[in-house]
C-alpha cells in the first residue's frame, strides 16, 4: 500500500491533463445535476401515490411503495450496468442511473414528509370539497417544503458521489478517467483525479449544508 501511495506522489499537474480532468468533472457534475433534477420531479408523483392518507390509490399505494423500494434496494452500480447494456457507454447511462437512484431515495423520504405534514389544513380543505390534488398542492407541499428541499440537497450530494463511481462501469464522467488511470498504471494521474473528486465532494457538502441551514 505504501508502495502504491509512493507511486502516486506527486500528482500529475500537467495543464493538458488538468484540462481533461476538468471537463470530465464537469460531465460528472452534469450527470449528477440533471439526474437529480429529473429524479426529484419524478419522485413527487411516486411519493404522492405512496403516502398514507394522502394517496388517491387507497390500499393500492403499496404498489407505488414497492416500486420505490425496488429502485432503492438495487445498488446504483447494478442499475448502471443495466443502462450501459441498454443505451451504451457514456453519460446517458450515468444520468439514467442517477434518475432511478434519486427516485428510490427521494420517493421514500418525500412520502414520509407528506405524511408528516400538518393534517388540520388538509381537513379544512377536504371539508369544502377540495380534490386530493388540490389538497396536495395547496396544503401538503407547502408544509412539507423544508423537508423536501433538505432531501433534494442530500440527493444531489449523494448523486455527485455516485456519479464519480458510475464511471468505473462505463457510465461516463470522471470515474471513467480514474479507471483508465489505474488500468494503465498511471498512478500520478489517479492521485490528481482522486484529489479533484475529494475537493468537489467536500465543496458540494459545504454548499448543500449552507443551503440547508437557510431552509426554514
Amino acid at each position: 500500500m505504501a508502495q502504491l501511495v509512493g507511486r502516486m506522489i506527486p500528482p500529475n499537474v500537467e495543464p493538458g491533463f488538468l484540462l481533461r480532468v476538468f471537463w470530465r468533472m464537469i460531465e460528472t457534475f452534469q450527470i449528477a445535476v440533471v439526474g437529480t433534477a429529473i429524479g426529484v420531479v419524478l419522485s413527487l408523483p411516486f411519493a404522492w401515490l405512496s403516502a398514507k392518507d394522502i394517496t388517491p390509490l387507497g390500499p393500492f399505494r403499496h404498489i407505488s411503495r414497492i416500486l420505490v423500494s425496488l429502485f432503492r434496494t438495487v445498488p446504483d452500480l447494478v442499475w448502471a450496468l443495466l443502462f450501459v447494456s441498454a443505451v451504451g457507454l457514456g453519460a446517458v447511462a450515468g444520468t439514467m442511473t442517477i434518475v432511478v437512484d434519486t427516485i428510490g431515495f427521494c420517493g421514500r423520504f418525500f412520502a414520509e414528509a407528506m405524511e408528516d405534514a400538518d393534517e388540520r389544513p388538509q381537513e379544512a380543505l377536504f371539508a369544502i370539497g377540495a380534490s386530493r390534488f388540490s389538497v396536495l398542492c395547496g396544503a401538503v407541499l407547502p408544509d412539507a417544503l423544508p423537508s423536501l428541499t433538505n432531501t433534494t440537497l442530500f440527493a444531489l450530494e449523494k448523486a455527485v458521489r455516485s456519479s464519480v463511481v458510475l464511471g468505473l462501469v462505463g457510465a461516463g464522467g470522471i470515474g471513467q478517467e480514474l479507471k483508465v488511470a489505474f488500468d494503465l498504471f498511471q498512478y500520478k494521474n489517479a492521485s490528481t483525479i482522486i484529489l479533484v473528486i475529494f475537493t468537489i465532494v467536500v465543496l458540494m457538502e459545504f454548499v448543500t449544508d449552507r443551503l440547508r441551514s437557510k431552509v426554514q
Binding site: D118, P121, L125, A127, I128, G129, S134, V135, C137, G138
Partner: protein, 249 residues
Amino acid sequence: MTAIIRAHDLAKSYANGKVVFSSIGLNIASRERVALIGSNGAGKSTLLKCLIGLLPSSGGEVVTLGESFRSAPSVAQLRRIRRQIGFVFQHHGLVSRQSVLTNVLQGKLGLPGGWRGWHHSIAKQHWREEAMQALADVRLLGKAGARADALSGGQAQRVAIARALIRRPKLLIADEPAASLDPAAGHDVMRVFSELTQEQAITLVYTTHDMEHALDYSDRLIALKAGKVFFDRPTAHVTRADLKDVFDA
C-alpha cells in the same frame, strides 16, 4: 323565511351500540344565527356533521340547502351542499407556511375552477380583490402578505373566517370557533362572525360551550342533553337558569 336545514327524527349511533343522539328534529331558517350548546360529548359536532352530510346518520331524514337525504347524501348532493357552505373549525387550519392572502384564496378550492386558489400568484384578479375585501372585513387587510404562522390565535381564526366567506356561502358552519382562544380574542372572533353573517345574509350555525358566546351572538339556542334536544328556543327567551340545567348532570 326559507328553511336552510330541516331534520326529522335524526339519530346517530356507532357500531359498538353507543347512541350519540336520537329523535332530533330541528328547522333552521335562512339568515338565522343558531348556537348549538351542550356539555362535552353531547354530540354537538356530530350533529353538525350529520346535518351537512359529512358523517352518515343512523336514521331520520335531513334536507340541507334543498338537498334531501337519509343517512348520507350522494356524492353529487354532497358536492352541491359543500359549494354553498363555509367552514370554520376550532383550529383555524391555515397552511402555516403560506401567506394570509393565499390562505384566504384557498377558500375557493372545491368550487369550479377552484384549483387557481392553490396560491395567490395564480389566482384570478377578481378573486384576489375578493380576498382583500374579505381580509378588510375581518380587519386584517394589513396582514395580507404575512405568513400565517406569524399571526396570533385570534387573527388566525379571523383569517379562517375570511377563507370561509370568500366562498360566498349561504350557510356558515363553525365548530367551537373560539374554544382555543383567550376570552378577549374569543369575543372578537364571535363579534366578527355575527356582524359579517348578518351583513352578508348568511345563516350561521355554530357549536359552543361558552354561555356568553351563545347568549350574545345567536338568535336561537338549541341545547343538547343526553342525546336529545333539551330545548330549542329564541335566545331572548333563554335564561341563565335554563343554561345551567343544560350542563348539570
